[in-house]
Amino acid sequence: MTATSPTTPSKIDSSCRLPLFTLFSGAAVWLVLSSVFGLAASMTFHKPDMFADCAMFSYGRAYPAWSHLLVYGFAIPSGLGVGLWLLARLGRVEVAKPLLIAVGAKLWHLGVMVGFVAIVNGQTSGYEWFELPRYAAMILFLSFMLMAIWVFVTYSRRTETALYPSQWFTLASLFWFPWIFSTATLLLQIFPVRGVVQSSVAWWFAGNLLNVWLTLSGLAATFYLLPKLTNRPLQSHYLALFVFWTVLIFGTWTGIPMHSPLPAWMSTLSSAAAVMMIVPMLALASIVFLTTIGAKTACGGGSLCFSKFGVLSFNLATLAAAIAACPAVARVTDFTWFTHGHTTLRLYGFFAMTMFAAIYHILPRVTGVEICPRRTKSHFWLALIGTLLLAVPMMIGGIKQGLKLADVSAPFLDSTKATMLGFRIGTLGEVLIAIGALIFLANVLLSILSHYRAIAKIAIADATAIQTAEVKL
C-alpha cells in the first residue's frame, strides 16, 4: 500500500457490502431452485410419466429451467460479485456507487425471475443456454450494463496501478458478456436470422458463455485465491498471461458440435479449437502446481479445498471436451449424455466450486463475521461427491449410449437402457448437490444476518450508553 493511500482493506470491504449481499444472496437462492429443477429433470428417467400432468416440471421445461437458473441465476451474479470485490481490493479503491450496483443486481435477479417464470410456462426461446425470452433478455442486458459500468468506474479509480492477472480476467469478462449476449438477443430474438444461421449464432453464444465467460470469471478468482490461501506468489504472471491469451483465442471458437447442418468447415474449426483448449489447460495445471507445491497450508474443507477441486474439474472437463472433439470419438459421443457430463463438470465442478471458494473467502471480510467451518466443510464434501457422482456416470453412460446408437443392429431403446445406471447414480449426485446448495444458502444468509445482528447490537449498546450518560447528567 502506498503511504498516501486514503483507504484501507476494511473500508474497501464495507464499500462492497451492499452489492455483494444482493448478488450473493440472490445467487444462492437461484442455485437451490435450480437444483430442485435439476432433480425434477433427472426423475424423468426413472419415472417417465411422473410429470405427465404437470407441464412445469416436465423434462422439456425442467431442464431449461435448471440451466437458466444455474447460469443466469447463480453463475453470472456470483462471478460479477467476486469480480467486483477483486477489482476493488486489487486496485485499492472503494466501490463507486455501491447503491447503483445493488440496484442493478436487483434488476438482474428480477430478469432471471421473469425468464424462469416464462420458461416453466412454455415461453422458452428454444435455444440451448439462451432459453430466456426476449423481454427477460432485455432486462438482463440493461442490468448487466448498469452494474458493469460502475464496476468499471471502480476499477478506473484504482490507486494501485500495477495490474494483477485476476484483474485482466475480470475486465475481459466484463467486456465479453455484453457483446455475446447482445448478439444473441438481437440476432435470435429481435431480428432473427434465417435458418441454420440461428444455430450458428446460438452455438457461438453458448461456446463463448460456457468456455470463455465462465473460464475468465472463474480463473480470476482462482489466480487470486490460490496464492493468497497458500501464502505464496503466483507462479507465474507470464504463464497466467499465456492462459489468458489462449483462452481468449481458442475458447471463443468452441461451441459448434461436430454434427450439425452447418457447413463442415465450421464444426472442423470449432473442434480444432476445443482440442487446442488443452494448451491453456496445461498452462493452468503448471501454474497451480508451481504455486501450491510445498505449501504447508492444509485446506481443511475451506476455500482452498473448493478452489483446488475447481481447477481439477476445469482440467478434466476441458480434457473431456477436447477428446470428444476428435472426429473418431465425436462419432460416438455427439448426441449423447457425454456432453452433458463434462458440461456439468465445468459448471458445478469448476465454476460453482471456485465461486464457493471465493464467496467463503470474501463474505467474512465483508460482514466481519466468520462462517462456521463445519458448515463449509460439509458443503465441500457434499458438493464434491455430488458433482463427481453426477458428472462421471453421465460421461460413462454417454459413451455406452453412443456405442449402442452407432451399432445399428441394436434397437434404439437399447441406447436409453445403456444410460440407466448412469442416471441412477447421477440422480443421487443431484440430491447431494441440492443439499449442498441448501447449506450454501444457509451460510450466505446467516452470514449476512449475523452482520446486521452485530450492527444492531452495537447500535443498542450505543443507545443505552447515551441513555445512561443522559441520566447521569
Binding site: 424423468t44 417417465p48 410419466d49 411422473m50 410429470f51 405427465a52 400432468d53 404437470c54 407441464a55 416436465s58 423434462y59 422439456g60 421445461r61 431442464y63 431449461p64 412454455g122 415461453q123 428454444g126 495490474l163 484483474q167 485482466w168 475486465l171 467486456f175 465479453w176 457483446w179 455475446i180 432473427p192 436470422v193 434465417r194 435458418g195 441454420v196 440461428q198 444455430s199 450458428s200 449464432v201 457461438w204 498471461l241 491469451w245 483465442i249 471463443t252 471458437w253 461451441g255 454434427h259 447442418p261 452447418l262 457447413p263 465450421m266 455427439d334 448426441f335 449423447t336 449424455w337 456432453t339 452433458h340 446408437l405 452407432a406 445399428v408 434404439f412 431403446l413 441406447s415 436409453t416
Partner: protein, 290 residues
Amino acid sequence: MKSSNTIFLAAFIALSASWAGFVLVPQIQLGRADQAKTIPAEDKYPLARAGLAAQGAEVYRSLGCVYCHSQQVGQQGVKVEVLLLDAGTNASSTLAAIAKVHPELNKPETITGLPKEIAYVADIAASDALVKAVTAVGGKVEVNVIPTGSDISRGWGKRRTVAQDYIFDHVVQPGTRRAGPDLANVGSRLADLNWQLNHLYAPKSMVKDSTMPAYRILFEKRKIGKVASADALKLTGDSAPPPGFEIVPTDKARELVAYLLSLRSDAPLFESPVTPPPAAAPATNTVAAK
C-alpha cells in the same frame, strides 16, 4: 500487462474474429438462402409450414422436445450404384463396352438377370464413363445415389440434412442430444395421425418399454356425453380411461401432431442427392392439416 487498453484490445481482437467467423460469415453465406430446386423433378424446396403445422412448431418449442430429440440426420458417405436395366439389342457388344471400363465385369453373368446393379463407384462423376459406354451401344443404365451411415440405417432419413432444409424455420431446433430418436423425417416414417396422438398421450401404449414421458397435458379427459366424441382416442389396456370417460386431444395436441407429420427432409437436392427420389408424401399428411 501494464494497461487495461491491452486487455480490451486482446479481448476485442479475439472476440471479433470468432464473431466474424461464426456470425457474420454464415449470415453472408447462408442467411439469404432461398428455395432451391429438387433434382431431377425441379420442385421448389422447402415449402414454408403453414396453418396447424406452423402452430405446432411453437408447441414443440414450448414443451422442450428438443432436449431429447434431434432433428438432423448425418451421413458417413454415399454409395453410388450403377444399375443395368437393359443390355440393348447386341448384348455382347454391351458386355465388351462395360469390360472396357471395368475389366473385372467381363463375365457373362454381368448381363443376365437384368435389371440388376453391376457396379458400385465412388461418386456420380466416376459413373460417367460406364454410363457413356453402355448408352453408346444402345444399353440402358440408371445411376442411384444412396447415402450411408448409421442414422440412415436406422431409418431416420434418406439423406443427410443440410442448411437448405431449415431455411423457413424459426426457431431452428437441430438439437444436440438423442435421448429419443431423431425426428427430422418422422412425418414420413410415422405418418399415422392416430398413432402420433396415442403415442403422445401414452407412449408405452404404442412402443413397448418406451421411456418417453407421456404428455397427458395435451389431452382432455371428459365424461362421455350423449354421444362419444368422434375424435376421442382409441385406447386399450392400462392407458384406457375409466368407463364412461373419453380422452380427447386439445388443439395443442392437434397442432403438435400436424407439425410432427410435416417433418420431412428427404427431397433430393444437388448438395445432398439421393436417387431414386423418395415416394410422395403419404395421404395422412394432408389429413392432419384438416
